[in-house]
């Protein structure tokens, strides 16, 4: 039994009543207030502070691990020859994947005119940025000499007259990821401008006023501005859509371009992109569900949103499943000794259990999303989102490690065992991610205010 702001009871579960993307009974002022007050309130919630401290603590694991890494070298990790890439790359791909949902939601769903995107796109985009930040860390720290990689990977005129080697997928990565980061940031900021303008005018504290005032660049909601603004936003969406697809395609090329059995597969780009969206939506759910509880945003992030996201997960999950099937099929149908052995080893080799566990996480369990009951059961949905996150990480682990540890020459086969430093780095990035995220929801509107306004009946202009 939900209640409207003016305390009129309304039964959302009434048959035939399709949950709206925003609970009825709100007016412009209430929308603004509800979202803005989260930020402009002076008192800090104890709960928020608690989780922030925890996240910050975990982040320091990362600092410690990376510090020690720079002192000793990558040898502190479990990597070796043949397994030259370990957790670092696994985490990189995982985070990048997560970083796909935001832009996807804001761009593709915008183009598809999915009005329900409006209440989740803002923090989904933020999530994207932070995930990309975490991901971007790894390609750098995983190198043997980061103090050189930091700038030798970028083309700049130098006294050696040498340049990056543009045939390498790693360089493609550098460009793809940095482009993606920049464009996402622009997209996100553009969306923020009108909202910070609102905050500027609403804030009492002069420092806040100054802060939001600078961010808003003096936005005043002029119709001429809105006209160009909308055009720019639409164009950005149009540009981001192929971009977001390209990024994970390029990441998948890190593997597909190589000769390693288990990596060298044409299916990789679509299958990686699907996986990215899959994990991305899982992460959005993982974040959205607690947040709408904590900040009582149920009226804006309604069950309909969760329901739709669950459906998207189900869809992308099926594509991923298809990917696994294809890989296995290739192994058998190619009649290629190396491919066949690879898939055998992946399933029944020393890392076999992880393979089956990922099948369980990414394919078996999510099948329950076929049922409305499951989709509308928030706690279960939350658990499933977590399971999928784990599963997608495992997928990357299986792809990277099991392909490398037994490739062509049996004489050179080996095993990979992560060290405590691997784990610290991995969890550390989660800390970094959460820290940034908590800061975000404290200082910036987690939901796009002006877009929410357009959902209100008042916003519908007749004639």
């Amino acid at each position: 039994m939900a209640t409207l702001p003016d305390n009129r009871p309304v039964d959302l579960t009434r048959p035939g009543y399709s949950t709206p993307v925003i609970a009825p009974g709100y007016n412009l002022e209430q929308v603004t207030a509800k979202i803005a007050n989260v930020i402009l309130t002076t008192k800090i919630k104890l709960g928020w502070f608690g989780v922030f401290i925890i996240a910050f603590g975990i982040m320091n694991l990362l600092l410690g691990a990376v510090g020690y890494l720079f002192v000793k070298g990558t040898g502190i990790w479990g990597i070796n020859i043949p397994v030259g890439w370990g957790f670092a790359i696994v985490n990189f791909v995982w985070w990048i994947g997560i970083g796909h949902a935001g832009t996807l939601i804001s761009a593709i769903l915008l183009l598809l005119k999915q009005s329900w995107r409006t209440s989740i796109n803002r923090f989904a985009e933020a999530m994207t940025l932070f995930a990309v930040a975490c991901a971007g860390l790894f390609p750098l720290i995983h190198t043997g000499r980061p103090w050189l990689a930091a700038y030798w990977l970028f083309p700049y005129p130098n006294t050696m007259k040498v340049w990056p080697q543009f045939r390498s997928p790693l360089i493609w990565d550098v460009f793809a990821v940095s482009t993606y980061a920049i464009v996402s940031l622009l997209f996100w900021y553009t969306g923020l401008i009108p909202d910070v303008a609102a905050l500027r005018d609403r804030a009492k504290n002069p420092i806040a006023k100054l802060f939001y005032g600078i961010l808003s660049m003096g936005w005043r909601g002029s119709a001429r501005h809105w006209h160009r603004y909308e055009t720019a936003y639409l164009l950005l969406a149009g540009l981001s859509t192929p971009l977001v697809l390209s990024v994970h395609t390029v990441v998948s090329w890190d593997f597909a371009v190589s000769v390693v059995p288990g990596w060298h597969a044409t299916i990789f780009p679509p299958y990686f992109v699907a996986g990215a969206i899959y994990s991305g939506f899982a992460m959005v759910l993982t974040l959205a569900i607690p947040i709408r509880e904590a900040f009582n945003m149920k009226d804006f992030i309604t069950d309909r949103h969760l329901n739709n996201m669950a459906k998207v997960m189900l869809g992308t999950g099926m594509i991923v499943a298809y990917g696994y099937a294809t890989e296995a099929f290739f192994g058998w149908y190619s009649a290629n000794k190396f491919e066949f052995f690879m898939i055998q080893n992946r399933m029944f080799g020393p890392y076999g259990p992880m393979y089956w566990f990922l099948i369980l996480c990414n394919i078996a369990i999510p099948q329950s999303l076929w049922f409305k009951k499951v989709r509308s059961n928030v706690p279960v949905l939350f658990l499933i989102s977590l399971v999928v996150n784990v599963g997608m990480w495992l997928e990357r682990f299986v792809i990277v490690i099991t392909s490398l540890h037994r490739d062509f020459l049996p004489s050179s086969w080996g095993m990979y065992h992560p060290t405590k430093w691997d784990w610290m780095t991995f969890f550390g990035t989660m800390g970094l991610f959460m820290t940034l995220f908590f800061l975000f929801i404290r200082v910036l509107p987690m939901i796009a205010i002006f877009e929410m306004r357009t959902l209100l009946p008042q916003a519908k202009v007749k004639h």
């Binding site: 006294t159 100054l210 003096g218």
Partner: protein, 232 residues
């Protein structure tokens, strides 16, 4: 007061945007200058030496051949730093009690080496060979500059990779006949002053260079700029 920002804020906002751009460009430019500056390359710097040895005096003044001191320049990657004995060959006869030469005499007397400071010091992952350069017609001056006019020795070139590549990619522009390698007064061929090579008169460096390339079998640019030429 409704306005939070003063009128001037607009000007500030816009100029600051421009300034950021300018600043970034400036930093880039500075970095580019810095990495080529003598501070990094030691170019033109005269390091402190135990004895203020003057190439000018010994080479131009007395006309001593490079190889008198740098004995292994034609046979080894290392040109050779003269042992004290070489100095004493003459200085046991002349300037026998010049105070500035005391370190040399002391070295000889106590059989204790002079400790010079390296002027031309390549990074240790660079494998340079005097032997091949000298034998293929690269003059001393081409890299060491007007060494015969240096009262105190300094590093003429930047010794940076880009500088090495200049010649490795265009050998013709620097090659001279073998017998001219140690000639400090050698003039590049010019209409007035032709250079004779294998009976031919050359008035253009490029022509001469190509002739020498052919005669000495100089390897092609894409070979000479291949990494393993200098790095192993």
């Amino acid at each position: 007061m409704a306005q939070f920002f003063p009128h001037s804020a607009n000007a500030y906002a816009r100029t600051s945007m421009v300034l950021v751009g300018v600043l970034l460009a400036g930093l880039g430019l500075m970095g580019d200058r810095l990495q080529r500056s003598p501070y990094v390359t030691n170019q033109g710097i005269r390091p402190e030496q135990p004895v203020p040895f003057s190439h000018q005096h010994h080479v131009s003044g007395l006309g001593i051949d490079c190889r008198y001191c740098h004995t292994s320049v034609e046979t080894s990657s290392f040109a050779g730093i003269p042992p004290t004995k070489t100095c004493m060959n003459c200085h046991s006869q002349i300037w026998t009690n010049a105070p500035i030469l005391e370190p040399v005499r002391a070295s000889y007397r106590n059989d204790k080496s002079l400790v010079w400071t390296r002027v031309h010091d390549l990074p240790d992952y660079v494998y340079f060979s005097h032997e091949i350069h000298v034998n293929k017609g690269v003059g001393c001056k081409t890299c060491h500059g007007p060494i015969d006019e240096m009262p105190l020795t300094y590093q003429h070139a930047s010794l940076q990779m880009e500088w090495c590549l200049e010649c490795h990619r265009d050998t013709a522009s620097v090659l001279r006949p073998r017998e001219q390698v140690f000639n400090m007064r050698y003039q590049e061929p010019a209409p007035g002053t032709p250079v004779v090579f294998e009976g031919q008169k050359y008035t253009k460096q490029m022509d001469l260079g190509h002739a020498i390339q052919k005669a000495y079998g100089i390897r092609k640019a894409f070979e000479l700029q291949s990494c393993e030429t200098c790095h192993r």
